[in-house]
Symmetry: C2
């Protein structure tokens, strides 16, 4: 049996009661540590609360999936994922691969950044497609194109920022990418740090706004509704 368990964004206590029960019942517990990072991560604290030894695994381990699949054929295995379970293709492939191997799969979802950005006061109904800026972005136009497509429809864009090993892209780097691509220098944007944890949000000018907490993300704004504008005053 394979449990795929979202553990939310903040710290080890953001796991659900159902998720915790599943983890406690498992023989092997893995934490996928590459697609996102908890705002406040402490492996010792997590192992204590979950009552299990937890092995932190990398992208290759999950993509390869052999060890997880083999173990899940005989034993109960949990793969912990920061944020929502269902955001990343890798996890869906693992689930598919488990099903092909006749392994029972149970997904226990959690809060992810796609809904957590609602804390900014922007309506989740007014976001267009989400996009991600990779570190190696000199010849990458797609995040900019997504922003333009969304803006044409008056929609906001949630921009996720690359994570590689322990390096996380800052909102500042993301905004500099957009300035380089041609976004207006007077544009007002939102930057978020530590969403789902001890959150830091600023609403300011694309040229100079920045924050300190990680992980960070950026919102390029479409048309603002009056109630959204009201809420953003909290972050000016």
């Amino acid at each position: 049996m394979l449990y795929v368990v979202g553990i939310g964004l903040g710290d080890e206590k953001d796991i659900t009661v159902k998720g915790l029960e599943a983890v406690k019942s498992c023989d092997f517990v893995y934490l996928e540590g590459y697609t996102s990072k908890l705002c406040s991560f402490d492996l010792g604290r997590m192992e204590k609360l979950y009552g299990k030894k937890i092995e932190v695994v990398d992208r290759k381990f999950v993509e390869d999936s052999k060890e997880i699949i083999e173990k899940a054929k005989e034993k109960d295995v949990a793969l912990l994922i920061v944020g929502s379970v269902l955001g990343a293709t890798t996890h869906m492939q693992l689930i598919n691969s488990a099903k092909e191997n006749k392994i029972k799969v149970k997904v226990i979802d959690n809060s992810g950044v796609l809904t957590a950005v609602g804390i900014t006061g922007l309506s989740l109904y007014k976001f267009g497609r989400v996009t991600t800026i990779p570190f190696d972005n000199e010849n990458v136009k797609s995040p900019y194109d997504v922003v333009l497509d969304n803006k044409k429809l008056g929609l906001h864009t949630l921009v996720l920022l690359d994570i590689q090993d322990d390096k996380m892209m800052s909102a500042r780097e993301g905004l500099d990418y957009f300035l380089r691509m041609g976004l207006d220098k007077e544009e007002k944007v939102i930057v978020c740090g530590g969403l789902g944890g001890d959150t830091e949000i600023k609403y300011g000018n694309i040229k100079d706004v920045s924050i300190n907490k990680f992980p960070q993300c950026v919102i390029i704004i479409g048309n603002l509704h009056f109630s959204e504008e009201e809420f953003l005053k909290n972050y000016a």
Copy 2:
């Protein structure tokens, strides 16, 4: 102090450990029962797990917000919300109103339908704007327009369905709306029931696909990536 606590989509055990701790510490606990419904709701079971008497409140109570605000000035109050906390404007207004009253607010988020649809295998990165069909939709064009805008960009559309009191719109009613508006009769769509709980998903023809579990939602498909198509075979 006001805690706004997402309780997820499935049942009372989808609350997070952090959310449960907060609720257990509160003097008053309200459950907002109108923007969405748990797949499996039992007030007695919930009160037992949460260790509190829970008052189920309606839209008017939360929108009016006076009682919550007054109580939160002196005592610790939790408002429980099905799914993610941050999806609905009403909740953001309550949070804003609490802040204006100098009440400390803590948001504890959870999984919502916007990420839970990932279980279909469609990439969350390929969804455009979300939309909702109201019951009274004879002269309502916007959900159809949202679908067309998204389709132009090759994107999927998550279509939420109205809930009023204890009446929930079925996926079938939603699809009939789209047929009436002019979507192609041969279009293949996804219908989901009980997302986040004991989920039922079908991938089929817009004319006749239907499911039994509630709450339901619909996905109108944009361009499918090969890996998305692979996954959808599970639901054909």
